[in-house]
Symmetry: C2
Subunit: 459 residues, 2 copies
């Protein structure tokens, strides 16, 4: 007897789940229906800044798998079809064809919610004016490129200084714009501690980006033609031929909430470790993954909302295994993120100081300077590594790195050590790869771990 799996959302989590389930179950055993309200499937939103910059030539380069490719794998994919209601008691969803307007119910035995996240868009005057662009999906990217094409002026204002804001600042720099980043926080990259964020601030300024921190945008000012002409703050106006919003996202869970499914304090769906939505309403038949869920932070010990393609893909794999009759779990995250802005590499994992305090943890913190290669080797680039360790136990709590080439991915060592619950003293003995083109004889992460070990002993 055949079952039906319904998937809401055709990007990373949803289509990974569908594909993995299809690998495990033949069409005769499991029918798979997927609804996507947009025009694209399985694309890399993370790649949009590089498409805008011109580094990635074509939009389709960002598409990992097209609707046709999914259909060829026996997934009944309905594009431009929006799910408007979930009826968990009736085990069915209502969907509307956005072109024809036709609407109808589809029954499910198992449901995957992968509705993603939506960009924050504060209700400011002028925020919807032509010339103001988000960069959440491929349509947004195309709209921005169209504006850049049509605009003669060369002044760009980016609102927000998280990784998307900074990557967009680079993209616009590369296209020859004068770029101003207007940022609510005291430093860019609020995912770092302020001292590390200041390093990013200095580096961005060094690249020629005008950084305006600690400033709230009050309006987008428009010209006689109705188009955005400047970004206004309480104290100033920043002329803009184009405005890019990079102020973060929130889980897209209205549909799920309307159905009575449980969401956490960040608005994301709450699941168990197999990515099955918790509680009696879901009744064990609904899974969720990707940017619409909250995930367990293994260091903090509570749920967080982290919108990242790599997590979405993992969730999809886990869901697909479980709905396909296998077994897999997603144990949680440690909060790893890396970004690259021109030649600046920015990385973090685990807790910041304020996170540790909020988590009730006492900690020591150290910061060291080192280089990406042996000091004598050509191209050795400086990097700063900050490390947090728990007081008394010495357990690693977090690591932040700001540097140049070769800095960013070093955070992976700390990410694995965090996952394993290592102390900073245990880390000092880690057998990391050493050769002069790759590292000083003491890897920068080990230098930080040594200093943190001493700090724990002294605390």
């Amino acid at each position: 007897m055949s079952e039906r799996l319904v998937v809401i959302g055709g990007d990373a989590a949803g289509m990974s789940a569908a594909s993995q389930a299809r690998r495990l179950k033949k069409p005769a055993e499991l029918e798979i229906v997927a609804f996507e309200r947009g025009s694209f499937t399985s694309y890399s939103a993370c790649g949009i800044p590089y498409w805008v910059s011109g580094a990635v030539p074509e939009r389709d380069d960002l598409i990992a798998r097209t609707p046709e490719e999914h259909r060829a794998r026996d997934i009944d994919l309905r594009m431009r079809t929006e799910v408007t209601e979930i009826d968990p008691a009736g085990r069915r969803v209502r969907a509307r064809d956005l072109d024809s307007g036709a609407e109808g119910w589809t029954a499910y035995d198992k449901l995957v919610i992968a509705t993603g996240a939506r960009p924050l868009r504060p209700p400011l005057p002028g925020i919807d004016a032509p010339g103001v662009h988000g960069v959440q999906n491929l349509g947004d990217g195309q709209a921005l490129l169209d504006t850049l094409e049509a605009t003669e002026g060369r002044r760009a204002v980016v609102v927000g200084a998280g990784y998307i804001g900074l990557e967009m600042a680079e993209a616009l720099l590369r296209r020859g714009y004068e770029v101003t980043v207007v940022n609510r926080g005291e430093q860019p990259m609020s995912t770092l501690d302020p001292d590390m964020g200041r390093l990013v601030d200095a580096a961005m300024s060094g690249m020629g980006v005008t950084m305006v921190n600690d400033t709230e945008v009050t309006a987008v000012l428009t010209g006689d033609d109705g188009r955005a002409r400047a970004v206004a703050t309480k104290d100033a106006e920043f002329p803009a031929d184009v405005v890019v919003l990079g102020i973060g996202v929130e889980p897209e869970t209205e549909l799920a909430r309307a159905a009575g499914l449980p969401v956490g304090e960040h608005g994301g769906l709450l699941t168990d470790l197999s990515m099955r939505v918790r509680g009696p309403v879901a009744d064990g038949a609904i899974w969720a993954g990707g940017d619409c869920v909250e995930v367990l932070d293994l260091v903090w010990g509570r749920e967080r909302h982290i919108a990242l393609g790599t997590h979405a893909n993992k969730h999809g794999q886990v869901i697909g295994a479980n709905v396909g009759g296998g077994y897999a779990t997603f144990p949680g995250v440690v909060g790893t993120a890396v970004s690259k802005v021109c030649d600046l590499e920015i990385a973090r994992t685990g807790l910041r100081e304020k996170d540790a305090r909020a988590a009730g943890l006492q900690y020591v913190t150290v910061t060291i300077e080192s280089t990406s290669r042996a000091g004598y080797y050509p191209g050795a680039a400086p990097m700063t590594v900050k490390m947090l360790a728990e007081r008394r136990t010495g357990r690693l709590l977090g690591t932040q790195i700001v540097g140049r080439e070769g800095a960013g991915k070093r955070v992976d060592v700390a990410a694995v050590a965090l996952t394993a619950g290592m102390t900073v003293e245990q880390m000092t003995a880690l057998d990391l790869g050493y050769a002069p083109p790759y590292s000083p004889v003491w890897d920068p992460v080990l230098v930080a771990a040594r200093k943190a070990t001493a700090a724990v002993r002294a605390a």
Copy 2:
């Protein structure tokens, strides 16, 4: 009452130990005497190929700390002074000034043996002829550079295809030589499995190096002037204006063995976890570290000899802490190594297939192809990742990577996972840094871990 620490060997392990001990104990508490038979201290032997290639301009760039700098830190350093005997019962060493010939005994309360390793030099006809060079120390490097300077011909033969041999091949290529590598093994890099070694072989050939594998050198042939003119094997002669030996090293432990100290099956000194030499002869007063000791392989569960500067530095730190009245241990290694030859990156950690068999382990193995960056991101370079996991338990046993820029240091993730005893299935959930310039959405190491997980389930 003051104690005296005597250190034999003025490079990484010995001088790290001396320096760390000095940090912990003032001269009034601890006198430190160090003997070095050569003319340099604390230098990077690993950097010699880059000095020979010209990438590192000056010999002194490779010296981390000069004799004068050590003396300024209240270490009584005796250069060009060779220890000729250790008398553990009398707690004294006999040393000879190589210039004056003066010889005498120095008493110790604590002794550190850091005599390093010596290059293997098979007893072949012509092996000592002018024009044949090892690259073990700075003197060797200078002698080779002098030969290159004085030689008109442009044909170089490198004997040995381990990481030193291949790095020297690159150095000579960069200097404009026609380079032939003569290798006893079937593939270069015997620290890799043969299938991965073949990738290195192909890449080396692609760079224009003539790779001659599976061939034993029978002699170095000399000309009328007594200088090396060719390297002979059973079947062929390879004309050579210069010959470089890169055939590995063995622990330099004659002195220690003559004193009755215990060595392992690879000829290295055997220590406890605090790096103190085992057994009644040492009587708890002798420590050893660096290239002259064997270290515990945490995956294999037995001692191995691994000559690497990064280990030597760690040993020195641990010894210095312990002889300085603190406490530290060196738990062992997992066998991580990275090399770079032109733009080829080669990395390994843990066990090869033949090691796993020798260790009595049953395993599965998988090999995957991936890229260093998102496929659409400029500069995405291919890499091959091989992974071994234990049958049934799924515990990671080893990882080998061959690729281009961005491949090598990825092995660190596997090194930490090995140290933590993770299974490949646990690894699939690792929260590694993702952004398009750094990685595909599934990091290559995770792709390998996923495939290995499936292989473990199927085995």
